[in-house]
Symmetry: C2
């Protein structure tokens, strides 16, 4: 589960951490302090990273792979809240108990900070504390966008919204997207069924907005149309 920090892994960790919003305005020494309390952990595809309702004991920074954040209901329903990858955050801006569960979509590595050691550091490093607030705002903004999409858009527009989100994160110049998650994950993110989601893909393809070389790849052909459907920017 815990891998020793090979020189390349260590470099990737430091790079990920340093370029994250978490470390904005922090000097080298502070970054090193943070890095020293962090542990890089491996998660196999499908492995649970954290569990909804359990006490918050760690904060996570995805370094490799991709992850899924979700809220589960008693009747077996599931609402996927976010798809994560390098540069995102997990477990920050939550209270004393996790509000959601998280799983590795594919084999992943996450930098793991024990709250017991992270909190004191946040207390003594004002910029770090401020960054926590900034991250909370980003999460809030995303959730509101998400809520708007699910509450007000129809199937193909919801999918357009997700594709736009993914394109935006990878730099909007990137017109070729990789979708490591399964269709059912996308469906539960969008508040749709698997079948309706598949039909939404077909519709965007038929309308010439995207091309799908295979199920895990999406080529954005008409970025303008995608934005119009997603109603963003």
């Amino acid at each position: 589960m815990t891998s020793p920090l090979h020189s390349d892994s260590a470099a990737l960790c430091r790079q990920t951490l340093k370029s994250s919003d978490l470390c904005r305005g922090l000097d080298e020494r502070a970054v090193d302090q943070l890095l020293s309390i962090g542990r890089l952990r491996d998660y196999r595809a499908g492995a649970q990273i954290l569990c909804q309702g359990s006490p918050v004991d760690s904060l996570f920074l995805p370094v490799t792979g991709s992850q899924r954040v979700e809220r589960s209901g008693a009747a077996g329903q599931r609402q996927v809240l976010a798809f994560l990858q390098r540069g995102d955050y997990l477990g920050f801006s939550t209270g004393d108990h996790y509000l959601y569960s998280a799983y590795a979509i594919e084999d992943s590595q996450l930098l793991n900070f024990p709250v017991g050691r992270f909190q004191p550091l946040a207390e003594q490093l004002p910029p770090l504390r401020d960054n926590l607030g900034r991250i909370a705002n980003q999460v809030l903004a995303r959730l509101i966008d998400h809520l708007f999409a699910i509450g007000q858009k129809r199937a193909h527009a919801r999918l357009a919204f997700l594709l736009w989100q993914l394109a935006e994160r990878n730099g909007s110049a990137d017109r070729l997207l990789r979708l490591p998650m399964r269709r059912i994950d996308i469906a539960d993110y969008l508040g749709l069924t698997l079948e309706t989601t598949s039909r939404a893909f077909s519709r965007l393809r038929d309308d010439g907005v995207i091309a799908t070389p295979d199920a895990q790849q999406v080529h954005i052909l008409d970025h303008r149309a995608l934005i119009a459907l997603a109603e963003v920017q």
Copy 2:
């Protein structure tokens, strides 16, 4: 717009502020400091309190009346994000621009803190700063519940969810709810049309879960059934 602080208004302000989560752990002097930078403002029913996209200049504490927080889309869609009343917060946990608009549902009074004077106070009062984080978490938790409801529940269960939320806020013993908002507001909160919302009321009434003496009042007859539908607790 700005009313002089009558003795009873002032008392209500102080009471509201002091019993809010914002002031948890703050001593009398700190509460007075906060109160001294706050201004009580009146808003007529329908008046705009703050505007989506404009720079954050104030934070608000509802003192009387009820308010509506919403996100608007380019195509005229509207997602109501929250219904507020005394004891809630508005404008906290947002970045430098408001992520939403807010309107008075009925004549309201809100305690108004200019950020320029609030932020320095938060810097010098650690408990206040911590409480801001706590409030952000509450907002986050509510948004996730909301997202789950809209993404995974059907019309009458979504309405049950809202009614449960309102009942919960007024102390769960309260089985008589007042609904100051209009049906269209509820519809836009639940991601439904006005008509479907009305039918959801009818269904809950026909199923014996609620009674509706008039459109602005709901009597909860079967609290157990309401919770089961809302899938909470």
